[in-house]
Every structure is written in C-alpha cells, then in structure tokens.
C-alpha cells in the first residue's frame, strides 16, 4: 500500500447538500465504503470514476430534499430570468455581440481543446507508459552527442539478464510484408516483436486469448480491418495467411491466433499485423549479432526512477560487448516513452501554445461581455436604484446580475457547441485531423459544457455584478450617476484585448514567413519536373531477375522522348539515408567519425542539377569507381578538414578510398536540420542496393505519360503496383505539420480579431452615446467634424500604443523560442510589426470610424433639445 486513496470531494459535498438528511448516511457511507473496496479490486481510477458516477446517479427525486429545505426561492429566480431575457431582447445588438462573440470564443476553444487533447494525451493509452523506456545509443563526439535509436537483436535479452530492475522488454521491428491472396501480392505493414509486447504495451485482443496472444511460432495477430479485408469476417481465428517477406525473399505461412481490440489513433505504435520475431526462420542469423542494429528495444522498469542508475551502469555493459575503446565514446540511454511524441512525432509544446491561444480567444470574448455590461450601467442605474429603494439587498442584486450572465453564457455555450458540431467535419477535412466531440461519452460532454458555462458565467458576470450592485441610491435619485472607477479597468481590459490581437497577428505573420522561407529556399538541387518511382530488386520474386527487369524498365524510360535524365539511387532528397558507417581521413589517429552514407549511380548529380564544386563526377559504368571512390558533400569535407587541392583519401577500416569529388551541400531533409556530412558511393544501376528511380521529365500532358509508365511497370511482373511521387509534393510534405500549425493559428487569429472587433464596435457605440451631448455642444460652438473624430480616436490610439508595448516583447520571446527549432531560420523583422500595426489601425478605423463619423455629422439639435 503506497498511500491511502481518497474519493473525490465534490460529489460528496454535492450529494450532502441535496440529499435528504435521513438518507445521506446510508447512501454516502455505502459509496465511500464501496470506493475503498473497489480500489482494491478494479483500481483507483475506475473506483473514482464509479464513485462520481454513482454519486450523480444518487441525485434523484426520491432522494432529494424538498424545495423548502434547499432555501431556494423559485419565485425570485423566475423573476431574475424574466428580467434577464427582457434585457437581452431590449438591447438586441449588444445581446448579439455578447452571445455571438462568446459562442465563437467557446467554439474556437472547444475545437482547439479537442485538437490539443489528442496530442497531449498521445500514448496515454498505455497503462504502464511511465515505466516504459526506449533504449538507444548515444555516440559521444567532440562536437556533441549523436543519438541513434536502432538497437541490436540480442540487446533485450542481455539487458533482462543483466539488470533485475528491468521487469520486461519488447523488441519492435516494423517492416512491410505482402499478403498473398489469389496470386496477388498486397502490401501491408507488419510488426516483428516478442510475446512480451502485449505485456509492455496495453494492446488487448478482441478475439483470442489476451494472456497468450500467440499460440506458437506461426501465429499472427491481426487488426479487425485486416481480418475483414482478407477473410471477410472479424473473427478470423485459425485462418491461414500466406506472407511474402521482401526483405528476405521468402514466403511464410501463418495462422491467425488473435484479433486486436480497437486502440486510439493517437498512439505512436499502430500495429496492424503482429508476429513473433523469434519464430521467424531467419531469426537465428540475427539472434546474436552485435554489429547490425535495426530494431527498437523497449524496456519496462519496475520503478521509473531507476532509469538514472541504470544509465550509470550501462558503460560496463558497453565494455563487455564491444570493449573499452567503444565504451569511451558510446553510451546506452533510456528515453522515457512519454517523451516519444516530442522526439519523433511532433511537439506537445505547440499543442500547449494552441491551448493558450484558445484561452486567449475566450478571454477576449469574456472581456467583451464585461466591458459591455459595465458600460450599460448608466442605462440600468434607474432600475438598480429603484430595486434598492424597494428594499433589495446588495447580495440579491448581485445574484440578479449573475443570473443574467449565466443566461448569456448558457446560450453562448449552446450556440458554441452547435458551431463545433457543424464545424468539425470542415475542420477535420481542412486540417487533415480527426477530432470529434461525439467520440467522448455524452455525459462527459454534458458535464464539460455545464462546467464551461458556469466558469464563463462566473468570470464574465462577477465583476459587472459587483460593480452594478454598488450604485448609490441617492445618486440615482438625484440623476447623478457616477461610475468613475470602472473606466480605468475597462481601458485596461481593452488594452489586454488589443495585446492579444497584436500577439496573434504578428506571430501568424512570422510563422508564415518562416514556412515560406523554408518552402522557397534554394535547396541546392532542382526539385522541379522530378518524378520519383519507388522500385527495388526486392519488389520481384527473384532478386537477380529483378535487377535485370529494373534495368530494362530504366532503359525504356530513358528512351522516351520526354525523359531528360534518369538515375537510380539508394536514397533521394526528402528521404535521405539513415545508415551510418565509421570512417577516418587517411593519417588521422583520433576516433573515427560516424557518417551517413548512401549509394547512387553516375547520373544522380546531373539529374538533380547538383553542382560538383571540386573534382569530378563518377565515371558511368566504371568498375574502378565503384570499389574505391567516393564523393563527399561540403559538410563532409569540412568534417574531415580536407582541402580541395589535395588528393584526399579516407579509410574505412583498413580500406583506402579516394575522394574523387565534392558536391555543394544540398538540403536532403527539412530545413529544420543542418545539412549532415554524407559519403556517396557509386554503384551502377545493375546493383541491388538501389531503391529509387528518379526521372527528370517534361510535365506537359502528364496523365497520358504516367499511364504509359504505369503500363510499362505492369509488364515487369513485380509483386507490387507502381509507387511514384513528385519531388515538389515530397518537399511540401516535409513541412506538413508546420503548414497545419500555421493554418490553425491563422484561423484562430482571425476568429479572435473578429471577436475583438465586435467588442470594440459595441464599446464605441456606448462611448459615443455617452458623449453625444458633449459632441453636440462642441459642434454648436463651432467644432469641425475632423476635430470631433480625432477626439474619439484619441482614446483608441492610446490603447493601441499600450497594446503594442505589451504585445511585441511577448511575440519576440515566443517566436524566437519557436525559431530555435530551425537551423535555417528567418530574422524577426520590424516589417512584421509595422504590418501588424497597419492591420490593427485599419481594423480599428473601420470598426470605430463609421459610428464616430455618424456622431460627428449628426444634427446637434436632436440631442440637445431635451434640456
């Protein structure tokens, strides 16, 4: 027993308040006792949920106190509601601004919240997530540390036998397999793993035995969709499945032993077919290899806090595997699974920023409400005064205004939810996400909306209620309304609104600049008119024949009149190599450098229009070039400290390799990262290492050309259908998450600006109404329209300036933090702020201008004849 869990407090209080006293002991006592019992049987979380649920369920008419006991006067509440609705109807434009503004704010907030919650709860599905760690290797170099996340097949068992703190472990290797059905080969993702996978992660089975998902070595576990696709039914237990494994050129037979239960979409592991790696016939070849790393190793610790002491113990393990020399520059590390999202998928920080934006929008809407209600004070002072004269207490007045605020916030929340329900399909389609309010249990949603309404009503209503109820009776009767101190606060609130708008507008502009900068920057190669076909010898049943066929295909492509150049390579820009080797310059005595390497044929640089800066190209089809020549990129040249004049030689192990050329650095990945040093080796097209065919071609009449190419591919008899992309699309996809982030921020900036402008419009109406007499008198005394308008605008100018003074530093702080993530980045320029200023001035002028123009132009007699 670690600690004694207690049930939550609020349902208890709620129930005690409303429940008949003679029943309270029994009901609450039972619920408490049941909670403790359930903690032991079904866990704290479920026990707590059940407790809340049963408390709420116990609030039913037969258990409730009678209304007299509740000391609620229903008459007066009914009266408050009546007055509230009358007031709403009386001032339709303000009610509209309030309700529409708040509803939009609520809708924006809910959308953001739904989106962010998916990211913030990423991988929360795994119950043991806090104890799961990904083992990775860190290489210590003079320039810093380099992490690599692929590990070795024997690593898991070694860790388990060596460290008792490690409770369990699972290896994961994700690759592709082709399901053979009616002589067709259909590509599917497959996971090689261990049986303990189901112990470490919380995947459960819908059909089959969750405790023993695999019956034997030939067992396979499928997603229901996959089972449905191949067997026409979800419960496909016992069915036979034939798989072709391209990596190994073999066909294997499996029997379905389990069907996975549904798991949420926001998990990093998305298994759809799972097999045991130990059962594979080629497993023994890898079982004890410490020189080939390609799988992910996860471990489950007894106590997450032991991670640090484990990391301290790892160097001994490294030494016992590879010796003392490696130990000095290599260490094993543990990455908490909860940090997986930030490391590999996206940024939880961005999601949190969005939540703050959502709160900001809500705040703007709340401020609107507060400002408009207090501004209305002068018009309601008679009502308030009269109520006081008739004996209303301050507290009663306060609850009256709170009721009004609650009515408005309830209406807004309902409209807001309606907007969300209508808007989610468009939102999802536009941003390529899958959020829905309806995916959560309806009771949870209702409770959420209820709480939101209360919160909104409380925040927006409490200040006006306090303020309005403070009217002095005598002043009212003397027709002297003094609401002096509210103006200061109101100004402050307007400034906050403007500051939020400044922040959103300039952040949006800056993020947009950075993304355009990355998308438009010269990447060092020509991405236009480039077709990339994903094709390798492994796509054919027989590898040797595959090479021949691929070359036929390549030559056929080349012979087409619209093809300008064709090349074959192991990797292409946007999907660059992740393979590393150890290499040292000739004569270097220090540690070898760990460097990326890839293979390409002699036409690669021409096809991509990459310039050779020093030295020569590879000679096409030259055997000599293939064995001991290499071309470096400039980054690699710098890393080796080579000078271009020399005949440079690098050594891989004891083999010497001549550097025949150096190419300009080209960005083969997102501009977020610096260009990494790369070794590029020559292999002619007749080698099995190549995975891509890149074609430079004329793009006019593309569809007929693609049809022709597809037909050519079909004739080859590969085990997969043609798989092609265009370079420009691939580059766009590199910035997909940034694009989405920008679109989201843009959308919500616009919403916030609309709401802020609405509020401003309402406020202008009031200011002008209050000053109409003053304006009229000035006019009678000879003031010009120009002067009158500047009188009104003077206030707004002050607010805008103050808002800039607050907003700009926040923008600079936030955006420079965001830009830190990018190696190639823009400078924060003053032009952005100037543009923001212009935008705001234009908006203010439009919002305020019309009303003030009308006021200044109106006939003074109309407003002065009363007195």
């Amino acid at each position: 027993m670690k600690s004694n869990p207690q049930p939550p407090n609020w349902p208890d209080k709620l129930l005690s308040r409303f429940c008949r006293p003679e029943l309270a002991d029994e009901i609450l006592g039972d619920l408490h006792e049941a909670f403790h019992w359930r903690v032991d049987t079904i866990g704290v979380k479920s026990a707590r949920r059940k407790f809340i649920w049963e408390c709420l369920k116990s609030i039913k008419p037969s258990n409730l106190r009678s209304f007299h006991h509740l000391s609620l006067n229903t008459m007066i509440i009914r009266n408050y509601l009546k007055i509230a609705f009358r007031n709403l109807l009386k001032r339709k434009s303000f009610s509209f601004i309030n309700i529409f503004g708040l509803a939009t704010g609520v809708a924006a907030f809910i959308l953001i919240f739904l989106y962010a919650i998916q990211i913030l709860t990423f991988d929360d599905f795994h119950e043991k997530k806090d104890s799961i760690f990904l083992v990775y290797k860190e290489r210590i170099t003079p320039d810093g540390t380099q992490p690599t996340y692929d590990t070795w097949v024997p690593m898991k068992d070694r860790l388990l036998s060596e460290y008792p703190d490690i409770q369990s472990g699972a290896r994961v290797y994700s690759t592709e397999a082709r399901v053979i059905k009616n002589n067709q080969y259909i590509e599917e993702n497959i996971l090689y793993t261990d049986e303990s996978f189901f112990d470490v992660f919380s995947f459960r089975l819908k059909f089959g035995n969750s405790d023993q998902p695999f019956q034997d070595k030939s067992s396979i576990v499928l997603l229901p969709e996959i089972a449905l696709k191949y067997f026409g039914k979800e419960n496909a237990i016992g069915e036979e499945m034939e798989l072709f494994i391209p990596d190994e050129d073999t066909t294997l037979r499996f029997y379905v032993s389990g069907i996975l239960a549904e798991y949420p979409t926001n998990t990093s592991l998305q298994p759809n077919m799972v097999i045991q790696m130990e059962g594979l016939p080629f497993y023994p070849r890898y079982a004890s290899r410490w020189d080939n790393s390609f799988i992910e190793t996860y471990v489950l610790l007894d106590d997450p806090n032991s991670a640090q002491s484990l990391e301290l113990a790892f160097p001994n393990l490294v030494e016992s595997i590879w010796g003392a020399e490696v130990m000095d520059n290599t260490n094993f590390k543990l990455l908490p699974y909860t940090a997986y999202y930030d490391n590999f998928v996206g940024s939880k920080k961005d999601a949190r920023t969005l939540v703050f934006i959502g709160l900001g929008i809500l705040l703007i809407a709340i401020i609107n409400f507060m400002n408009l209600s207090t501004a209305q004070a002068s018009q309601r002072s008679k009502e308030i005064g009269l109520r006081k004269v008739l004996g209303a207490f301050k507290g009663q007045l306060r609850s009256q205004f709170m009721t009004e605020a609650m009515v408005v916030s309830l209406l807004s929340a309902l409209f807001g939810v309606g907007l969300v329900l209508l808007g989610t399909p468009y939102f999802n389609e536009f941003f390529g996400v899958t959020i829905s309010l309806l995916q959560y249990p309806i009771t949870q949603v209702l409770v959420f909306i209820f709480m939101l309404t209360l919160l909104l009503g409380f925040l927006s209503g409490s200040y006006p209620a306090l303020y309005l109820s403070s009217v002095k009776v005598l002043d009212v009767l003397r027709q002297k309304f003094s609401f002096g101190k509210s103006v200061g606060l109101r100004n402050a609130l307007v400034i906050v609104q403007f500051a939020i708008a400044v922040f959103l507008i300039s952040s949006t502009l800056l993020i947009r600049n950075q993304i355009y900068y990355m998308a438009d920057k010269d990447m060092g190669f020509d991405p236009g008119e480039t077709l990339i076909i994903n094709a390798s010898a492994g796509d054919f049943l027989d590898r040797d024949q595959g090479i021949v066929k691929l070359n036929t295909f390549k030559n056929e492509l080349k012979s087409k009149s619209y093809m300008k150049a064709v090349t074959m390579s192991r990797s292409v820009p946007t999907f660059w190599t992740r393979s590393f080797m150890f290499v040292r310059p000739d004569g270097w005595t220090g540690d070898p450098l760990r460097m990326r390497f890839t293979y390409l044929d002699a036409h690669f640089f021409d096809t991509y229009d990459i310039e050779i800066k020093y030295g020569n190209h590879f000679l096409p089809d030259s055997e000599g070039d293939q064995r001991n020549s290499v071309i470096l990129n400039e980054a690699a040249m710098k890393a080796f400290e080579f000078t271009p004049e020399n005949n440079n030689v690098i050594k891989i192990g004891e083999t010497s390799i001549n550097v025949v050329g150096v190419v300009e650095d080209f960005n083969f990945e997102s501009l977020q990262n610096e260009v990494a040093p790369t070794l590029m080796f020559h292999r002619t097209a007749e080698h099995a290492v190549h995975r891509y065919i890149t074609c430079k071609m004329e793009m006019t009449g593309l569809s007929s050309k693609m049809e022709e190419i597809e037909a050519m591919w079909k004739n080859l008899g590969a085990t997969k259908s043609i798989d092609y992309t265009f370079m420009n699309d691939r580059i766009d996809r590199l910035y997909e998450s940034e694009q989405r982030y920008m679109a989201l921020i843009t959308l919500f900036s616009i919403i916030s600006i609309i709401i802020a402008c609405l509020g401003l419009y309402g406020l202008t109406l009031f200011i002008i109404e209050k000053r109409q007499k003053e304006i009229s008198i000035r006019k009678v005394l000879g003031a010009e329209v120009k002067g009158l308008i500047s009188l009104i605008f003077k206030d707004f100018a002050k607010w805008v300036i103050a808002a800039f003074a607050i907003g700009i530093p926040v923008v600079i702080y936030f955006i420079s933090g965001w830009l830190e993530n990018y190696h190639y980045r823009i400078d924060i320029s003053w032009i952005t702020f100037a543009m923001t200023l212009i935008t705001i001035i234009v908006l203010v002028t439009i919002t305020v201008g019309y009303q003030s123009l009308r006021a200044a132009n109106s006939n003074p007699v109309k407003y002065l004849k009363d007195e």
């Binding site: 208890d12 309270a24 002991d25 029994e26 009901i27 609450l28 006592g29 039972d30 619920l31 408490h32 006792e33 049941a34 403790h36 019992w37 059940k50 649920w53 049963e54 369920k57 116990s58 039913k60 037969s62």
Partner: protein, 119 residues
Amino acid sequence: MRIDYLNIINHMNLQLGVLEEIILIILLMKDETYGVDIAKEYEKQLNQSISLPAIHVVLKRLEKKGLVNSQMGEPTAERGGRRKRIYTATNKGFEAARDLQHKRNEMWKLIPKLNFIGS
C-alpha cells in the same frame, strides 16, 4: 398453473422484480447486511457488477412492501464517518421468497424435458 402463480402474487399484493428477488434472497442468506455488502455478494454470486444506487432503490422498495426491516448501525472510518443502515428480511419476506421458489420449482417440473435433450 400460470393462473395459480399469479394468484399467489395477487394474494400478497406484491410484484417482485428479478433484481428485487435476488436481493431479497441475498438478505435471507446473510441474516443482516447492508448496501456494499449486498453489492459484493451480488458480484460474487452472479459475476457481474451492480451499481449502489440501484441497490438502494430496491431496498427502499422492499422495505415499503414490508419484506425487509432496517435500523441504523455504527459509523466506521472507511465510510467517511457515516453510519450504515442494516437490513434484515422479515418473515413476510422469507415467505414471499419461499413461495416464489416453490412455485417456480413446480412449474419447472412441468417442462417436458424430453423435447430439449440433446439440443
């Protein structure tokens, strides 16, 4: 037979629901018991969970029909210092349950079992 069965119930002016009957039987088994205890027994016997508000409603109904009695017990710490209400079945409750079981047994005997053997 069917008419007989209804007669008994009409005679006692009682309608016993299935849940009411089960909880009444649990009460008879246990001599004296209370809400959570019933929930535990229910889960043990029937292997499915039941919510406490449901039990409370049933107990109130049984009490109204005069099949159970209750009095307040002692407070305990694990109940948050609240007292429990302890229920015992009355003679009437015992009879009602017994009659139901009897009648049911008689009816069961009348099922022509041959029809179902092997299916």
